[in-house]
């Protein structure tokens, strides 16, 4: 791929590292013989050639963990203290007195295959064709935060004050001026530099130079950062925050949105199946209730956005982003479902075919919804259990709604409900055993959360499902029983979905031993 460096440089009339400035000097005379690396020695001194990009070089042998880079970055970008586009983590190993604590300083890795960019539903990200810097546009961003799930390094961070995400842009405007990025310039140890990397070569060699203890594998996105590791890192070196695992953000609007869309889809599929088997009574009422649920679900989803007014922009990247596809499919589903409900309500012809389309679109929507969570950076979500769980929720809640509205044969519905509940419980148990048996840090940590901090919620949701999905349908075969059943299972599903969101342990770089306060995500 040829990069139009020269054209662009001419176009912008910019001096692209051709005439570097050597820091802002007030013209005095340094007296002693020591002069520390000026900006110019910390950034490349030639223009990029086609097939090259900029990258960070982090020299772990030099870093003393002073965190000047973190403070300088926050000052450079005017960010509040709890948003850190550059972070410093600790890794530690060895045995007293042969102990080694090393530090990892990281901004954005300006990956060759940026996962943040791939998932973005509004195309807010771009990989600069000249510099390779992964840029994010606050103007285009709608604050969906999907990129914060997609990045293995936790680089993009949501700023609730602004309602948009932000991230390290390698201070590309400073580079453009021939100045070093703020973090590079502030490092007292010259541990951070900007280098030029040949993209094709790096794609072959990155595995040996882009990985470090305490960092997720560079495979996920081909991080461009080169890391120089000390020779003497003890083999037991691991992240200092290994034992500090905290529940993630519950994303309540998404808890509501996922459970309610699945309820609505399940209900429409149930209605359509009942219609298929010849039932006609009160199907219109059930469909109307279901369409209201779908409306609630879609409204809830916009509450998750930092900029709800621009929710429509999420349709933009349907060719690439599962989030866009979800919005598109559920949008279509709602429209067609409304038509289906109207046809049933007014008892108009053609409803069976429209019902089939509704069911198909709903199933597709639930699939898209599940696929959003299948991200390598969030390993506990990235499994078939997520897809199965979402569908089982739909399969459980749909018949329950039907039963509580008194449509369909209670016996058959009960069988469906009990079967779906059993499947659901098995799926959850299967997931838990999969987590426990895993040898990945993130999955084990998720298991640790489920069996400690979140144990009561996790077991509680299971108990509610048992009660509402098995005991009540089997032993209280009345309308009241069915209603209680729906409410109980709904509560169990909401609690279970909450557990789903908070129990995921994302891949991330090592952090400090001490908690840095709640991350702004």
């Amino acid at each position: 791929m040829l990069l139009p460096l020269l054209e662009r440089a001419k176009e912008k009339n910019a001096h692209f590292l051709v005439t570097p400035k050597t820091g802002a000097s007030s013209g005095g005379v340094p007296q002693c013989g020591i002069s520390f690396a000026p900006d110019a020695a910390r950034i490349p001194q030639r223009a990029l050639l086609p097939g090259e990009q900029y990258r960070f070089h982090f020299d772990m042998t030099k870093c003393i963990g002073c965190k000047c880079c973190v403070v300088a970055c926050n000052e450079q970008n005017g960010n509040p203290a709890d948003i850190n586009w550059r972070r410093v983590g600790e890794i530690e190993g060895g045995w007293y007195p042969n102990t080694y604590r090393s530090y990892l300083s990281m901004g954005c890795n300006h990956c060759m295959e940026p996962t943040c960019l791939e998932g973005c539903p509004v195309d807010a990200y771009s990989k600069d064709p000249v510099t390779g810097i992964v840029l994010h546009s606050a103007e285009a961003c709608i604050g969906c935060q999907y990129c914060t799930w997609n990045c293995s390094y936790g680089v993009p961070q949501y700023n609730p004050e602004r309602g948009v995400v932000g991230k390290c842009d390698m201070c590309h405007d400073r580079l453009d001026e021939g100045r070093a990025p703020a973090c590079v310039s502030a490092c007292p140890e010259t541990a951070i530099r900007i280098e030029i990397v040949n993209i094709a070569e790096w794609k072959r060699e990155y595995a040996a130079h882009a990985n470090a203890p305490g960092l997720p594998s560079a495979d996920d996105s081909i991080s461009s950062t080169r890391i120089t590791l000390p020779n003497n890192l003890p083999p037991d070196t691991r992240k200092a925050d290994f034992f500090r695992v905290r529940p993630e953000d519950p994303h309540w609007p998404l808890v509501a949105m996922t459970v309610l869309t699945q309820l609505s889809v399940g209900a429409f599929v149930t209605i359509w199946l009942l219609q298929l088997f010849g039932k006609t009574t009160r199907l219109g009422v059930a469909a109307m209730v279901s369409i209201i649920v779908a409306g609630l679900a879609l409204s809830a989803s916009t509450l998750h956005l930092g900029r709800p007014i621009y929710a429509y922009r999420a349709l933009k990247m349907w060719k690439r982003s599962w989030l866009s596809r979800e919005v598109l499919l559920f949008g279509c589903f709602s429209g067609v479902a409304l038509l289906y409900a109207a046809l049933l309500w007014f008892k108009l012809p053609g409803s069976l075919a429209i019902g089939a389309l509704t069911s198909l679109l709903g199933a597709a929507g639930v699939t898209a919804s599940a696929c959003i969570y299948l991200v390598p950076a969030r390993p506990a979500w990235n499994s078939k259990h997520t897809v199965a769980g979402f569908f089982l929720t739909a399969m459980l809640l749909g018949p329950l709604l039907a039963a509580s509205l008194g449509i369909g044969d209670r016996r058959w519905l009960s069988i469906a409900i009990v079967a779906a509940t059993a499947g659901h419980l098995l799926n959850e148990a299967g997931k838990f055993f999969w987590l426990t048996a895993s040898d990945s840090f993130e999955l084990q940590a998720s298991a640790r959360l489920l069996s400690t901090t979140l144990a009561s919620s996790f077991l509680g949701s299971g108990a509610l499902l048992c009660l509402g999905g098995i005991i009540l349908p089997l032993f209280v075969p009345t309308w009241a029983g069915a209603s209680a059943s729906l409410l109980t299972v709904l509560a169990g599903e909401v609690l279970g979905r909450y557990v789903f969101f908070v129990s995921v342990v994302p891949k991330n770089m090592a952090a400090s031993y001490l908690s840095a306060g709640k991350a702004a995500a």
Partner: protein, 743 residues
């Protein structure tokens, strides 16, 4: 939140806008100032040159001075966020007096100073002149220290005046005086780049003086030896790390001296020409054989040989130390052993080669030079009649008015209050409730006072909260003067912004008080600004080791700091060292070799208190966190105290990482500290930072002081660790630092 923001129409574009500035380059627009004010950092005594960016009368940013001799434009994280201290929410704004209901209430300055004079005079009339105690700091400018010394000793007439420096560098001061005849660090930072061997003892410069690490980086030939019981980041940088037992450094150094003498690796010519006491020294170290030293230090004999030979064969070895040495009942003597080692090898005052105390506070050196607390101004001795007469003549006063011995040191003033001999106390820019050892005794002491005045830039602090009178003071960035750094470099400090509320500069407060006392005309004739003090101080320091007489504010500004001595007539600004000619400040011009014996530290671990507690710092915070505790980014990076414990100890106590524990000594209990299980610390030892009032390490430290320097033995005390009785309110308390600051 506005509706536009909630809908997402507004993303605070203006607040987050960037702009390009000719000086700063492309950066956050809100950080671009109208003017830059040149100054020196107000935290530690590395003494980094920097600029404060001022926009519409507010300090909006800082940047390192690329042309400054010390730091070449680089700053540590505290320096990089120093402008936030000026607008911290805990700044002291108005004079406050405790009223009849026991509440601090706002009063006018005039009334505040009148009450202060009335109460001080009252106590002194009733109980004697020395019933007034004064505790100052290392945070003021030299001009203020000079004025304060005169005011206290000649105006208020009490000898019982000391500073926070006694909690920090007093052992270095006493050690220098005993070995070399005067205070004053002989070396310079440049030595770190010129030495072939750098030996750091009880000094974790990577965390505490990070900007000095560059000097090591600029010196690829150096061999770095680090002696520290804890595997600090500095220890990890070492070529030879000596993980010695707590407080066994005297044994190690005597062992090295023993080996150097035995192997003929000493400079006998230098010893004969420039020192006295060699024979006694030789005799005293005879028993410090490698095997014996190995037992005392826990090091192998090989490690001891290696250290001795590396040091002994070096052409220009440098020894640096900080609190691991000073914070000890044997602090002064440890400094003497360090000096012994440097002297017998002829390694004092040569390029690269010197013993060198790396100071704590930004201007601890200034108060040592000019302060009139531990010595008369200009390193003159209380005990020397000629020094007193010389000073009295310069001031035009009767020599009898100058005390012939120093008054009580800091811990003796505190104990004096318990004994009701000190009745009124004036605390300036320091926070003893967090910084003084054995909190119980200190609280008893403060409770015993008739009147406590606390003058500080911050309120509330744990100490201002118990004051009878709080005087709001200007801080760094709000006043003019000079700081002296560790390497004797005098740098200029300038005013960038107005002090908040009614806060006044410390100098203004001192001059105002002098007027009330009626001694202004005599002591400070016509003084209105720092320069008036500086000009007089130049005259007083003339001819002394710390000679300022050739310096002017303009000259200092032009060179970004100049090292003393800089006598009248000096023209060349260059790196200076002391004692390069082998002439010391003793009467015979020779340095003293002083035999020192290793002793076990005072409170050994026992069955009830099985751990040795070590205390220290973290890079993000400064002293008692009055300055840094309200800088959001620093609080985020280091939000709470912790206790380091070896995994083997944690396992035997059944404790897990991040558990909350109490630290208990015979004197008190620090509650609910987060446990850090780590191999950084040896089995049997634990470590916690001393910055946090919320988990105050000095609740358990002991009242044991160096008999010579009076410095507290902070570094070792016996403690027990128990699982915390009360679980901390984690989620509530932590939250985001911003939320907490706003709350």
């Amino acid at each position: 939140m506005s509706l536009k923001r909630q809908l997402g129409l507004d993303i605070l574009e203006e607040k987050y806008a960037y702009a390009s500035d000719p000086v700063m380059g492309h950066t956050s627009e809100q950080k671009i100032p109208d003017t830059w004010v040149s100054t020196t950092c107000g935290y530690c005594s590395v003494g980094c040159g920097m600029f404060i960016g001022v926009k519409d009368g507010r300090a909006v940013s800082v940047r390192g001075n690329p042309d400054h001799a010390v730091n070449s434009g680089l700053l540590c994280p505290k320096g990089l966020s120093e402008h936030y201290t000026l607008e911290a929410s805990n700044r002291a704004l108005y004079p406050l007096l405790r009223n009849k209901r026991g509440k601090l209430a706002r009063i006018e300055w005039d009334e505040a100073l009148s009450v202060m004079v009335e109460k001080f005079r009252g106590a002194q009339e009733k109980y004697g002149k020395d019933a007034l105690g004064v505790l100052s700091t290392g945070q003021l400018v030299t001009e203020e220290f000079y004025a304060l010394g005169k005011l206290v000793q000649l105006g208020l007439g009490t000898k019982n005046y000391d500073g926070n420096t006694t909690l920090c560098m007093a052992s270095a001061v006493s050690g220098y005086k005993r070995s070399f005849g005067s205070d004053g660090p002989p070396g310079a930072y440049e030595d770190l780049s010129q030495a072939d061997v750098i030996f750091l003892i009880g000094a974790n410069i990577a965390d505490n003086h990070p900007i000095l690490c560059q000097y090591l980086d600029a010196n690829p030939r150096r061999t770095l030896i680090v002696a520290d019981p804890r595997v600090t980041k500095t220890a990890m940088m070492a070529d030879l790390y000596l993980p010695l037992k707590p407080r066994s450094d005297i044994a190690l150094l005597n062992g090295m001296i023993h080996l150097l003498i035995e192997n003929g690796l000493i400079d006998r010519k230098y010893v004969a020409a420039h020192t006295t006491g060699f024979d006694q020294l030789e005799e005293s170290v005879r028993k410090y054989t490698p095997d014996h030293v190995s037992q005392l230090t826990g090091l192998t004999p090989e490690q001891i040989y290696k250290a001795a030979l590396i040091y002994g064969k070096a052409k220009a070895p440098f020894i640096g130390w900080t609190m691991g040495v000073n914070h000890s009942t044997k602090g002064t003597e440890t400094v003497n052993v360090i000096n012994n080692l440097a002297l017998i090898t002829g390694n004092v005052g040569r390029p690269g080669a010197s013993p060198f105390s790396i100071t704590g506070q930004c201007n601890a050196m200034g108060t040592r030079e000019a302060g009139f607390a531990s010595s008369l101004p200009g390193y003159r001795k209380f005990e020397s009649a000629s020094d007193r007469e010389e000073l009295a003549a310069l001031w035009g006063i009767a020599a009898e008015r100058l005390p012939a011995s120093r008054g009580w040191a800091y811990p003796d003033i505190i104990e004096g209050a318990v004994a009701k001999k000190i009745r009124a106390l004036w605390v300036i820019a320091t926070n003893p409730i967090v910084s003084f050892p054995n909190l119980g005794v200190l609280q008893h002491s403060l409770d015993s006072l008739d009147f406590l005045v606390v003058q500080d830039g911050f309120h509330p602090t744990p100490t201002t909260e118990v004051a009878d009178l709080v005087l709001p003071a200007a801080i760094w960035g709000e006043k003019e003067g000079t700081y002296t750094n560790s390497e004797r470099r005098v740098s200029k400090v300038n005013r960038a912004v107005k002090p908040p509320g009614e806060a006044r500069t410390d100098l203004d407060i001192f001059l105002g008080l002098a007027k009330k006392l009626g001694c202004y005309g005599e002591l400070f004739p016509g003084w209105t600004q720092p320069k008036d003090a500086f000009e007089e101080w130049k005259r007083i320091s003339a001819g002394r080791l710390c000679d300022y007489s050739g310096l002017t504010y303009e000259l200092i500004e032009r060179h970004g700091g100049i090292q003393w001595p800089y006598p009248t007539g000096a023209t060349e600004v260059k790196t200076t060292r002391l004692y390069s000619d082998g002439r010391f400040s003793t009467e015979d011009g020779k340095a003293r070799l002083l035999p020192v014996e290793w002793e076990p530290f005072p409170e050994q671990p026992n069955a009830d208190f099985p751990f040795v507690l070590n205390t220290g710092r973290t890079i993000e915070h400064w002293h008692t966190r009055t300055k840094t505790g309200n800088v959001p980014i620093l609080e985020r990076l280091s939000p709470n105290a912790w206790l380091e414990m070896n995994p083997r100890d944690a396992q035997s106590l059944g404790l897990k990482p991040h558990d909350h524990i109490d630290v208990i000594s015979a004197r008190g209990r620090v509650k609910s500290v987060e446990l850090r299980v780590t191999e950084i610390i040896a089995p049997g030892q634990v470590f916690m930072p001393f910055h946090y009032a919320e988990a105050n390490a000095n609740q358990v430290t002991q009242s044991a002081f160096d008999p010579i320097s009076r410095e507290p033995n902070y570094k070792q005390c016996a403690v027990r660790i128990e699982r915390a009785q009360i679980a901390p309110q984690y989620w509530g308390v932590r939250g985001s630092p911003r939320a907490r600051v706003q709350a």
